[in-house]
Symmetry: D3
Subunit: 318 residues, 6 copies
């Protein structure tokens, strides 16, 4: 097995002015990389799960900036290099009440938007324990809608557990387009992760979170449905049982990437054969730790996650 | 009309060590520009009101650092260049309880302190919809006391609405000197803005805020009196009616310039012909947004101000 | 007259890692703006010539980052704001022998590529003393090829002097495409500026620089032809006479923008009615000074240019 | 008298990534110096008490980095220079709940661990009003255990008041080793400072803080026992009376060094002949101010401490 | 085959003040990793050769800082994690004539100094095409002297080409100790790399470079001897023939790591089956490019190396 | 003896944008302290000579920023604190040919300009081996002209060797004013240091350097005359003999403070009883090393100076 977890999607370069500065007048930008699917791979890799990321990038220093970052965290990038296409980017101004965090996407015509299965290392999907992608990827192009479906199909046929995060982005497509595309993929998905607000806005379901989870499990025969509820924690419905997991108190530096850290840790524990409730707890602890670090990536260690789970206080350790 | 809003006063260079560092041991200083009257012009300009700033500066890179910053935000500087005089400066250590924010003025003998009407582009005051200055300017020199009075007189005679912020600075002059000087200017002022604490400490009036506003309007025949009350918001008395405006919840990065942002936005709406209560709301929303940005200047956009007014939450917009 | 000099073209955001660092591993990027035509406008404006820049930008913080920078240097941007299009960008790694300076363009589908005369403030072109654009702009899209021609036509018909820099970029189009497009514009150009290497590679002319200048003047009836020769200085052919101008010794920090600084200063002196040889000297002195400053822009003053022309040494002035 | 207060112990170089970054991926480290005993000397010196620091350092730029910093704050280092030994260092990642502040010591075989009285300027201990060291120093090596004892003995015999902070560090030694070593020193200590948690964990005493203080005073004949209780303030038992001192509200930037700032200020007032309760208040105010500044050192002034004691609010002083 | 090239040695954290600053007064340090053998592995990896690095590190954020950096450049670290030992470090002040670059080692008792073959992934040495280590490693401890010999023996017995750089460090051991240790290893070395000055100072040989190479080849039966001569380039004696390679003109930013970049590129070409003269040219070009980048690592691409070999000029590529 | 060398003069805060940036557009400034006389004291102190600096400063964080820096380098400041006066400052843009280094003084009415002997610790002048001041100090105010004379008189009467650097600053006074003031002080000066260009421009003497030295020695009965000639080194005439000293080759980072480093080192050797030629050599070596470090101060060590004198090459020392 090349990698226990394989994820597929776009990773962009992330450009952000220092906190308290505006893009309009900034003179320097923090330069990171960020993409839901590779964020998930990094979180899983850092918690000891071998992870690979499948995608298509421009053959340029910008494309290599993405793979360099992933290797730094032990994620093996399986990339189709493209001589002409652009590298997707996004700009983000960290908000402070009453000013929201503002994201400016500049990802049109990125190399990945033309990625077809025949040019990707699909074999690693077949070998993997789990294959993960999210609702962002099919939103990027018609080609990716098809490719996402085909990869989920390949995984399903090979017995690879498939996981999918609804990850609705209003700046990429309308709720109805998102619903059509995602619902067409659901039959090939074993584990669904979705934010409660997205289930209501996109899948147009009602009721409290446990009800949403049951309805989704019923409608689309998911093995596991995880509903994330921001400050109210997350719940998972698996084997007819609903497991609740509150958030861990956290002093936030950067909230971006919290959800992906949760999913990466959650999947790493499932892949390691641990029960859903343990995976939920790992997800919540890793998400809380991720918020204490700048950037999208969960730069944490297994010891630190376990310390949070043990209720270790946040004083000083000397 | 050259500019709808013309402001007159001193703009200094602002030098501050990074947060958590002291001037005594700092190795680098953030280098910005700041002055109540130009801060007001910037806030108005950013909200779509054509604004100009009238003053006198040394003909040096330091003087040009001031005009460069103002042009960046669309404010046209009408400056008398002086070959010999100094550029005023102030040093500011951001405080953290129990350490106050400490301001060290180094503004004695700055070029502006010798500014006389005959060497300033007074015609733009006559053309303007509104002319604004504050209690800091007459505090700087005898010459400026006279010049401030003459410019207010010129504006009044030309039918230009005059606005004046009491802006008491204890490090510049005593309450009694401030009272004498400002009260001598009040007859030429249409719109008075004053912090509640300054009204008590300088103008020695008592009673709650509405009472203070009424007394001032009665005593000096102001069209409009705005009383600002820090965390308790602001109120305006206009045409016999008192309008209240609470603050908007804000996660503060830098409080310096909050008052000027309020005044700039308030005047921009008055100039645009909007009612006082709308102007108050714009002022409060712009002030709240200003506190989320480093430096004195309200680097915000009309959309952002309107979003706050619509009660938009401060989550993430993607 | 709105502006003595009006320039038309694309201005991108410029992102570069600190010197000695590679994009692949950088964690922060210097964030500036840069575009040949606005660089020229800035150089002219800083030397006292009123300048405006005509273009089309996305209505976003990135678009405003461009206009904010131009206003900082006194250039008035006349921009058509576009709600949907991208902001062009380029990444630049400063080279050091034997590693060349590497430019990565990310400018496809930028807002400006769809700019048509009917959505631009064409009247300021008619009012201007001179209108400038360069060979980069028509290289960006078919629409811009037409628009560039129409604006040059408008200028010519209004009696506005037209200036054009060949500015060949191999990463944008082939020599032959460049030749066809530019030669179709030449009849509407009064002042041609071209690098000697571009004249040979694109216009396929031979002979030494004076010969090239004469041939071009003969073939296309240019009033003035300026041939730039890097370290060997520049020459101008005007009224049958050839004027030579050597470079000024310079200790280079950042060579990018040298040519635009030369053109901006050259045009500012022509517009001020000075003879060609004075304009050449101003161009060379401003270009030398520009190389001592980071970024594309000639952040210099008239005094500094005149000091270089007076042969002032580069010691210390205290 | 060379110095009123002499302190003895190890000062390390302190290396920390910017907040929100991890050592694993950081590219730059803040570079300061830090050591309990020299932190105490700096706090005392800044509050007007002449202070000296006694130790042993490598004769290298790293050793001089330590003495340079101390001189910056008026502390005179009396150092035995060692040509071969290492400079102790520690790395610290500022934590954010739920991630604790993580300290990585790299101090084995530091020059100071071999410091013997015969190679130190012991005479300044005899001349001093007070001699201070802490439980960290004897934890570092057998030699230092002996040297600490001998210096306390020397001080006692010379009539110099001796002060000792239990300062238990779990990463340096076990509670029982700490108890044995420290209790062997107690007979030579006049003033004991100890954190409540250390008294319980190391000295294995029970009861509330006043009780702990009395027991300790009884058992070891301390003149003064100070028990520090983090957010619950501190108390001192002196001449049979117990004085309580709450903390001052503080908006913390960096908590490291809070205890040393308290001790330094406390000792400086005792040395100045002020009563214990005044010394306690000075300690608490200085500790609160220290938390508003990055790094271990209390970079504050007497005026600022007195302002806190007067209950000055933390607004803006202009 | 796990990796074509396996290298064995110590990698330290590298701490350096900004250029023009001294350690004594610096407030921040650039934080990189550096070690001859891992530098070589990175250079080879970046030029397309699969590379692994074998060593022993402390199981701490500092140890992981080393492996993180190597993975960033595609080098797979095979590390024995040690719970107690230190992480070696070195401080470096970039010199400027007449001040030399000053290196302060702090590497005593680093985890690697106790590395024994039985705790290392020796199998990857047996599988490799080439195994590389240098004269620094045996200088660090008696254990490493033995382990280096055993690994060279293992490689030789498995038919893995062995390469060794004399890499004499005067701050680690005397010329005579170095000679004894290295000469004891030479019989297990196929490819010797040595600086001309080290051959004279350590191996006490005389004559010009070709003569030195021949003598060494004769005395120790090396397949290939490479003599590096700083600005005078390098030569290699292989199969009785001597190949000369001049340096490429370079505008140096950071000379540290030049030799390792040369060796890594040289070995990568040998492993790829290319002739010695090609390997020499690759080495020289990569070394020249490395000097244009801060830090020890050759952050370059194959295209860039080949461009230098093609004599591409260092202008601007746009 | 309090200090072997006592210097008297103004020390300003020094504010400079990063290299390649202009004050007009900079966002941060390097924040150092600088003054000829304290620069000299620092150089002497770093070479082992006990040094004190005598002056008058504002009692503010800015004043303390000056004393803090001096203590860092072992110089004891003897300062009269002034509650009201300003802290002198200067802004400096590092030049690059053809742009000169530009200094903007902002030192009018600084606290020191009112310094009278009766408020200074004049006793340390009487105790010192040498007292140094320069032509900058009397240029600052009438009061300082008198005070400088009185302190030189006091030194002379106490048998303290007096040293004076002409240090002409064209931005402070005219050549003739400088000549009158300095020549009135010469009778109280034992050791004169002067730049060759200043001797010609201010003292209006002609002839080559040795001739200038002899004439000055003859006219004013100096014990020693040192003539500094920039890149042509320096010469000293002492006891009728002229000693020549060339410069040491240096790769300059920051030339400011070179002269003061020379004088500080020169005086430290004279005070140590070494012959003039040794002092000259120390001065030249220290000046060369100073140019390799940012800022005014010679942050060097005796070993480094002696290494330059031994002709140590500037390679790498590891």
């Amino acid at each position: 097995m090349t990698a226990e977890l394989v994820t597929f999607g776009e990773t962009m370069i992330r450009l952000s002015p220092p906190e308290g500065e505006r893009i309009e007048t900034a003179r320097s930008l923090e330069f990171r990389t960020a993409g839901a699917e590779s964020n998930v791979a990094v979180a899983a890799s850092r918690l000891g799960c071998s992870a690979a990321w499948l995608s298509k990038l421009p053959d340029s220093p910008l494309g290599r900036r993405v793979t360099t970052e992933l290797r730094t965290h032990g994620v093996e990038p399986y990339v189709r290099w493209d001589d002409d296409a652009r590298q997707g980017a996004y700009y983000i101004e960290q908000g402070r009440a009453p000013r929201p965090t503002n994201v400016i996407y500049d990802r049109a015509d990125a190399a990945v938007t033309t990625a077809r299965p025949d040019e990707l290392a699909v074999d690693i999907v077949e070998d993997a324990a789990a294959f993960y992608t999210s609702g962002i990827t099919p939103a990027l192009s018609e080609t990716l809608r098809e490719t996402t479906g085909e990869l989920l199909q390949t995984a399903t046929e090979a017995g690879t557990t498939t996981a999918f995060d609804l990850n609705y982005r209003s700046k990429l497509w309308s709720p109805s387009d998102a619903r059509d595309a995602c619902e067409s993929l659901f039959p090939k998905v074993d584990v669904l992760v979705a934010a409660e607000r997205d289930i209501r806005a996109v899948l147009e379901l009602d009721g409290d979170a446990p009800t949403l989870a049951s309805e989704l499990a019923g409608d689309f025969d998911f093995e596991t449905v995880v509903v994330t509820r921001g400050e109210d924690g997350a719940l998972a419905r698996h084997g007819g049982t609903v497991y609740e997991q509150p958030v861990f108190e956290t002093d936030t530096v950067d909230a971006i990437g919290t959800g992906d850290a949760f999913v990466g840790a959650f999947l790493s524990r499932l892949i390691a054969g641990e029960p859903v409730e343990t995976a939920l707890a790992y997800g919540a602890a890793t998400a809380a730790l991720k918020r204490t670090v700048h950037g999208d990536l969960a730069v944490v260690t297994p010891d630190e996650v376990e310390r949070v789970l043990r209720g270790g206080d946040a004083g000083i350790d000397r």
